[in-house]
Each structure stands twice: as C-alpha cells, then as structure tokens.
Symmetry: C2
Subunit: 159 residues, 2 copies
Amino acid sequence: MGCGTGYMIRPAANVSLPGKRPDLAAFILDARLAADSVAVQSLPLCDLRLMNDARFPWLLLIPRRAGASEIVDLQEADRLMLFEEITFVSIALRTATVCHKLNVAAIGNIVPQLHVHVVARFRQDAVWPQPVWGFGETVAYEEAARDRLVARIRAALPA
Amino acid sequence: MGCGTGYMIRPAANVSLPGKRPDLAAFILDARLAADSVAVQSLPLCDLRLMNDARFPWLLLIPRRAGASEIVDLQEADRLMLFEEITFVSIALRTATVCHKLNVAAIGNIVPQLHVHVVARFRQDAVWPQPVWGFGETVAYEEAARDRLVARIRAALPA
C-alpha cells in the first residue's frame, strides 16, 4: 500500500507485462503453418501464404497477432482489417485462377494460431464437392508451377 | 430520343428489370437449407438458422439476397453487415455453448445459395478435430433439446 518498496514491484494497472496481452507479445508464425506453406505477401495485418498443395490454389491469411485464435477475439480494428484482407484476397485469387467457387474458412481445430483459408475450387478438382479439409492427400507443387501461381496471385492483388 | 412512345417502353438506365439484379429479385430460402435447419431469428441481413444436427451447435447465416453465392459478390454494405452478423452470432454461440473453438466457413460447393456456417466445437465432440463438413452422420435433435438450445442462443444475441 502507498509508495513503499512495493512501488517498483507491482506494475501499474495500465502496464501490460509480456505475455499478458497476446497482441503485444512477439508474433511467431506457427511451425506447422510455416512448413506447409510458402510466403506470398505481407499484407497490412496478415501474412499471406500459399499452401504447398497442387490440388487446389489454397491461400492462408495469418494475422500477425501473437496468441490470436478466434476472429472475434481480435481487437475491432484488426477484425475489420482481416475482413477487408479476406475480401481483396478472395477477389485476387478468383481473378488469378478463374475458379468456380471460393471456399473461405477459419477452423483452427488442429493449429490454434488464427489462420483463414481462402481456397479456389473447381468442379473437376480432386475432392469436389467435398471441402479440402480432411479429404485426400496433399500433392506438393513442382517449384516452377508454384512460383508461376504465386506470381499470378501477386499480380492480382491491389498495389 | 425525346419523350415519344418509347418513354414507357425503354426503362431508364437506373431502373433494373426483375432478374437483372439478383438482390432485387425475391429471396427464397434454398429447399435443402430449409429442410436441414430450423429458424432461430431474422437478423437485419440474414436468416439465422440452426442445423438439425445434435452433434454440434451449428448455425447458418443466410443473407436474404436472391442469387448471392459468394461473399465478395455482395454489395459492400451487405458484405460489411454480413461480417458484423458473423461476429455477433459467433460471440452469442460461444456464450450460449461455452465451446472450445468456433469454426466459421462459407463453402457452398453443394448448395450454391450463400450461407455461412458458424459451428461450436468441443474437444470431445463426435468428429473433433476434423471439420463438421463431410464427416460422420447427422443426428437429429430431440425437439425439446433443440428448443432449449435455440432459446439459449436467442437469449445470447444482442437485443
């Protein structure tokens, strides 16, 4: 109580200790997401990555917010920015692939780090009309094909 | 071309004929969505419905916009309203169920009418950690249990 020796030990109410507010801690991309995908672009909020699965053009949006797991737990400005990035990434992916359907999802039952899937689907793709999650086996890209797709997606993103 | 007889026949450029702009045509809930779910509430943009599957508390948000299939094809005001409704419905569902994880998705490979899934997941549920789409068999609710859940969700929605 008062201004005794406790002053330096107890933090003020408005000072966050590291780890107390996840969004102030350092963001580190989940190791499994990193292993399964390649970087496409750094957006204002999210890392945009391409899943290394040649069956579907499949993007991930990963907000750079340490500890985030649910969209609704993002601070409002971040949530609105995520929705905006989902929107323009969806449009860019459709432009780059001329797909039949977009599949957009935040699941996170296996990898808790918040990530949003944006997948370009075709009526003749490997598992249509099933969703991509949990069906069939991943097929790695040939490097040149992957790089061409990444270039097409980058070109379709807003400048 | 002046105000001759053509005046009443040619529509002005800003008048949409029925069927030309999907959002001005009458919205009719898809028959399969209707058969698989029950009404919870009419939100400003969406019909909120509960899937008749007792394995998971599973909501659908269906924008009342005829012909809509992709989130990104909604007019901007509708898209922002959909994101807002997804947010408060997600929070209400978590409040009503105290679930471990929210799964949110717009897929639509089978039913093209735009609908967004918001599913409450538990680490001990029937197909965890798989997504709900395409795994296992639907289990219909007992009516009383379904009505109790619908009442809890309604109570958790903003007034």
